[in-house]
């Protein structure tokens, strides 16, 4: 009972913090960030309690505590909303709570809390820094505090509420609500520096693109409800319902209902988790502040898409048995996921913006998870989801720390360089040792450095899953993507931290404050230690030293159970080779990079370099294929033709008809009839008055005489009619 109560309480503290900050404390920076931190901290605490309770409760699947309330009356039925705790909820709570809390703490430092206010800073722009007079009398440029500090904490608190809601809910409806709250927060936070046009465009782009996917997801939700009459996971995933959904055909394309719903929901994931072809928004989303990139666009929100697919895996995999050929939905997922993994990795090779490289690597890693789910490697995908959240949050926060360091150098030297371009960096390992080591750990985890990093174990289990599923193409594509991942990660690390500084700004970079580096250290711990809970039991040498806890825990959720992995050395050797090979290659190519040198990729790839640099011209293609026609439709067709010509024409005609009709009425009706009658009454009354005027002589005796005569006449009339008659 306590657990149920605690579970539904988890999302509330951040919501409360959001409301308080937005309504009351927006002028007090310290109160605002304390509110946000306390809110996140309470949620973290509750999440940890629920997590450890779930871990130490045997037979969780049988208990599966849930708590429901009727929410929305629908005809004769009620939509029930509620919370539940199962294995997926528990592990998701774990990584969400940790990353959210770390990012909240980090944000305090990232937004320069405690620094003076900048005299040139404006709301809607990143702080420029300000000239500060030190006690000794010297004046120096120092970083200035973010002008919209409280606003930031309000938004990320709301975001945390959305994510927690999504994770703890026991039905698709509240999941969808949390999903859309996060979409809104993503929009608000990408456009946080709204005075920059690029940020505004990126925000709109992100919102529109994810909305496109969400539309299909909403359709899936509606179809699911109309077919099964429930959105609750327990009802929907019960074997009878699944069987029914698999057996009955939907009216569309000959799919079964399960296939149709699965595909529609997967479209939501494609939008939210930035899979090809809706991946275009995620790199642009890097316009937001770096903690936002870390939290929303790497660790949690984009994970929500994968979470949805994992959650609906029983429905998506309906009709599939471990070892059997995968069904249509899973084939689509495997194809899109594998393609995205490779495709995004190739783009990441040529990007120079540190955050953009990480954004493409996020897309690529999410593709990994989707592909893993597509071939049925359910536990591996969940494992990678959790591990990826930790190391990608770490990498993004590390990149924020690097950018901060470089910005410090820029202020110090007055050199105008792009603080996010890694060709302007180099040699930062001496200046920023903590950031370097944590970034190195995160990078190695991302590239799957053998044995010691969490990324190795999760990626290895995905590769093993893909291999044992028998879908060779998935395995090969993923292995290739892993090679590229290791390569561009090493390119990133080498260009930023190794070698010699390539700009003056990089020479004067300095380490960030502890409030930023401590979260890095904590996340780095998870990026290493997280892997220990999922070491496969049949791994050579190490297998069995630690129990494969993750697989037992999460695998216990599936009704049908996970495919028995015939462990083979092929995927293991492959992941070793691609990880180490990629890292080595990356170091070898970039370790001698000097200032002003062109990117060696330019020579190696030739003409293809430009294609990659321009991201396969997909933005241009979308611009040509969708945005231009949409503008044409809106401007030329709808506005200029339909609106200005036809609608306005009709309105103007109506407008002209009005006065004309009015004039007619005035000439033919108002003036002669209404006015004439009025005037006639007036003049008639006046004339009558004038005619009767002599009667009013003012002689009282005359009046009396008249009265007497009238009386006599009336008397005789009465007498004649009433007495005589």
């Amino acid at each position: 009972m306590i657990i149920q109560a605690l579970t539904w309480l988890i999302p509330l503290p951040p919501l409360l913090a959001f409301a308080l900050i937005a309504l009351l404390t927006s002028h007090y920076r310290d109160v605002s960030h304390w509110l946000a931190l306390i809110g996140a901290g309470l949620s973290w605490l509750a999440s940890m309690v629920v997590f450890f309770w779930a871990v130490f409760t045997p037979g969780l699947s049988q208990i599966s505590p849930a708590f429901q309330v009727p929410w929305l009356p629908l005809g004769g039925d009620w939509l029930m909303i509620g919370v539940q705790v199962d294995q997926l909820t528990a592990v998701s709570l774990f990584f969400v709570a940790w990353t959210v809390l770390m990012i909240f703490i980090y944000s305090v430092g990232y937004h320069n809390y405690g620094q003076p206010e900048g005299d040139r800073d404006k709301p809607g722009l990143p702080p420029f820094g300000t000239l500060f007079r030190f006690k000794r009398g010297e004046r120096k440029m120092v970083a200035s505090v973010e002008p919209m500090y409280s606003r930031f904490f309000a938004f990320i608190s709301l975001f945390a509420f959305g994510m927690y809601t999504l994770v703890v809910s026991d039905n698709l409806l509240t999941l969808y609500i949390g999903w859309e709250i996060m979409g809104l927060c993503s929009y608000l936070l990408i456009g946080f520096w709204y005075a920059r046009e690029s940020a505004r465009n990126a925000a709109v782009k992100a919102f529109m693109t994810t909305r496109f996917g969400d539309m299909f997801m909403l359709l899936g939700l509606v179809v699911l409800y109309s077919v099964t009459g429930s959105l609750n996971y327990k009802d929907v995933f019960s074997p009878t319902v699944i069987k029914l959904l698999t057996a009955s055909a939907s009216p569309l394309l000959g799919l079964s209902w399960a296939g149709l719903i699965g595909l529609l929901l997967f479209m939501g994931t494609v939008g939210k988790s930035a899979q090809f072809p809706l991946h275009v928004w995620l790199p642009d989303a890097m316009e937001g502040p770096t903690p936002v990139s870390a939290m929303i666009h790497a660790a949690t929100m984009v994970s929500a898409g994968v979470y949805l697919v994992i959650r609906f895996f029983p429905l998506i995999s309906a009709g599939w048995l471990p070892g059997a050929p995968i069904n249509l939905t899973m084939t689509v997922m495997a194809a899109i996921g594998a393609f995205t993994a490779l495709f995004a990795a190739t783009i990441a090779l040529t990007q120079n913006d540190i955050k953009r490289v990480l954004a493409y690597s996020t897309i690529s890693q999410l593709g990994y998870m989707i592909a893993a789910l597509g071939v049925g490697a359910y536990v591996a995908a969940t494992f990678h989801l959790v591990m990826h959240a930790f190391f990608k949050a770490l990498l993004f926060l590390g990149s924020g720390s690097v950018i901060h360091g470089i910005e410090h150098g820029v202020m110090h030297t007055n050199e105008h360089v792009d603080a996010q371009d890694m060709f302007n960096m180099g040699g930062l390992r001496h200046k920023m040792p903590l950031t370097f080591w944590t970034f190195l750990i995160g990078g190695f985890a991302l590239s799957g450095f053998p044995l010691i990093t969490a990324g190795f174990w999760s990626k290895d289990s995905i590769l093993a899953g893909a291999f044992s599923s028998g879908y060779w193409w998935v395995f090969i594509v993923l292995a290739l993507a892993a090679l590229l991942t290791a390569f561009y990660t090493m390119r990133l690390i080498t260009l930023i931290f190794l070698g010699q500084p390539r700009t003056k700004a990089a020479e004067h970079a300095h380490e960030s404050r502890p409030v930023m580096t401590v979260p890095l250290a904590i996340l780095a711990f998870f990026a290493v230690a997280g892997g220990w809970v999922g070491i496969p039991a049949n791994f050579p040498l190490l297998g069995g030293l630690l129990p494969d806890w993750f697989k037992q825990f999460v695998g216990g959720m599936l009704v049908g159970g996970e495919a028995a992995e015939g462990h083979s050395l092929v995927p293991l050797l492959t992941s070793l080779v691609v990880a180490l090979g990629g890292l080595l290659l990356g170091w070898w190519v970039y370790h001698k990079q000097m200032a002003g040198d062109p990117d060696p990729m330019q020579r190696a790839l030739g003409g293809f370099y430009t294609v990659l640099k321009r991201k396969y011209y997909i933005d241009e293609f979308y611009n040509w294929a969708f945005i231009k026609p949409a503008y044409w439709l809106a401007d030329t067709l709808v506005y200029k033709l339909i609106d200005l010509k036809i609608l306005d024409g009709i309105l103007h005609a109506i407008g002209r008809f009005g006065p004309w009709f009015g004039r007619i009425l005035r000439g033919w009706f108002d003036l002669p009839v209404i006015n004439g009658a009025g005037d006639m009454i007036a003049t008639g009354t006046r004339r009558l008055g004038a005619d009767l005027k002599p009667v009013q002589s003012g002689r009282i005796q005359q009046y009396m005489l008249i009265a007497l005569m009238v009386l006599v006449v009336v008397f005789f009339i009465f007498y004649y009619f009433f007495v005589l008659a």
């Binding site: 002599p694 003012g698 002689r699 009282i700 005796q701």
Partner: protein
Amino acid sequence: MIPLSWYLIFAAALFCVGLFGVLTRKNLIAILMGIELMLNAVNINLLAFWRYLYAPQMSGQVFVIIVFTAAAAETAVALSLIISVYRRRNTVVANDVDLLKG
């Protein structure tokens, strides 16, 4: 006993005298006197009918007393109005008081 009709004839004659006075006299006070005559003619009528037809009841006398009272009040008001008119316009001739002439 004097027959009732005598009283009625007398009252009618008195009423006509009063009416004639009201219609013909120029002086406002004389008009007022005419009105008093007419009222008294009515009083005589009332008393005569009461005495001959309803003698055991009080109502005829009560009516007459009320008429007297009303007449006295009315005379007081009228006289004060006439005095007021005289003070303002220096006349008590009815035809000269013609502010409401159309």
